[in-house]
Symmetry: C2
Subunit: 249 residues, 2 copies
């Protein structure tokens, strides 16, 4: 097992932020600056073509710490942020760029995301192994990620029983319905009703496929980028409901 | 205009509850026991075969008062609660009872609900006329109702511009998509994904038909009666977002 190597550490507004690496993988850990009890951990995946400190990730991370009292970890996905792209990444991205308007983008993104997930799932598992050694962290574990991070997180959740609640969405369903059928933990699924790139039937099919007894679909009017701010509030409440059941608040 | 005639008045836990009649229509008004500013009003419709003090209505009413600071009004729908059934109600209900297992119930309930709505919409409008005369109440107005109360509330919202935000759901779509197309205020739509009586396609079609720029669909796993308790929290937050925009908190 690779231990987490922590480098920089800063604190502001009650949130401590630490950079770390686990093997070659760079990550960030946000946690309450003052907490007396071990804290459940929420993993945040970033969407395609962004990185571990993209504003959506940082904003949600800080809300989960300040409003939920959680610790939060994000990693750069393979080929993203501070990490090199593989030859396979380059080929997949070149294929994306060759698409002409009107050509379906879903199958190309799905293959790229599956490639990323093959590498990212073991990285997340190694991250859990390492971070759960820290006395201030404990299970249960949550996962939140849209887009490519849904393709990664669904595969992680399907194979790792430490993940006990997850928020997914905004991705195609063709390569993931079989994965959804193996997921039984509570899930919240987000889709944008007027997304012109990812047709709503993908989100509805994914939602239908989850084997979870507790699952909620949140569909909002608007395009891909118009997810309402109140879905952040909803995610914080979702993890509070599901990760605080068995731990001290 | 019929004024509201108030009869009994009780208070507990910060919530004042007053029975009233407007003409022949009996209602209940819940409001904050101590409030210094005029309060937005949320109208609560009850589902078919229940009444203005059914536990779902009372529970949501008290939450809206204590957590949202709203005033809340409920009426007995025509033919429900303390009110006599018309000959037409009796015929519709007899038709419902004659259904054999396997016969589609939707069209029969839709006709019954449309009959009720024809009478209930003017009653709600008269209620608004009367209650908004009270100094402690003001617009904007919200509406919340599932099932038959969706059939009533959608028709009310389509014709009365005082209603500026609404939560609907758990009803068939065949008689209501045209109404949805005339509704432009923010809506939250609730459906149960595994409802065996109201197929999910009805809720999805209604949600799609609303002309509202801001609309959210909340679909949850489970049968008709299994709407999660957190949808009550969500409704309180929805009205807080939309009715508190222009008034003092």
């Amino acid at each position: 097992m690779h231990p987490a190597r922590f480098t920089t550490k800063t604190s502001s507004d009650g949130v401590t932020e630490q950079d770390f690496t686990i093997g070659e993988v760079p990550g960030v850990l946000w946690s309450p600056t003052s907490s007396s009890t071990p804290t459940p951990l929420v993993l945040l995946g970033h969407s395609g073509n962004t990185h571990k400190r993209t504003p959506a990730v940082v904003g949600l991370a800080r809300r989960l710490v300040t409003d939920g009292g959680f610790a939060v970890a994000a990693l750069d996905a393979p080929g993203h942020g501070d990490r090199p792209r593989s030859a396979s990444d380059e080929r997949r991205i070149a294929a994306l760029r060759r698409l002409t308007p009107g050509q379906p983008i879903g199958p190309v993104v799905e293959r790229l995301a599956a490639d990323i997930a093959d590498r990212a799932v073991p990285e997340w598992q190694a991250t859990l192994d390492a971070l759960l050694e820290l006395p201030e962290l404990e299970g249960p574990i949550g996962y939140h990620g849209m887009d490519t991070a849904t393709a990664v997180g669904m595969r992680l959740t399907a194979v790792d029983p430490r993940v006990t609640a997850a928020v997914f969405g905004q991705f195609w369903s063709d390569t993931l319905t079989g994965t959804a059928e193996r997921i039984t933990v509570p899930v919240e699924v987000v889709l944008q009703w007027d997304d012109t790139r990812i047709d709503r039937h993908h989100g509805l099919a994914l939602f239908d496929a989850f084997a979870s007894r507790e699952k909620s679909l949140h569909a909002n009017a608007g395009a891909y980028q118009d997810v309402p701010a109140f879905e952040t509030d909803s995610a914080v409440r979702f993890f509070t409901r599901h990760l605080r059941r068995t731990t001290a608040a």
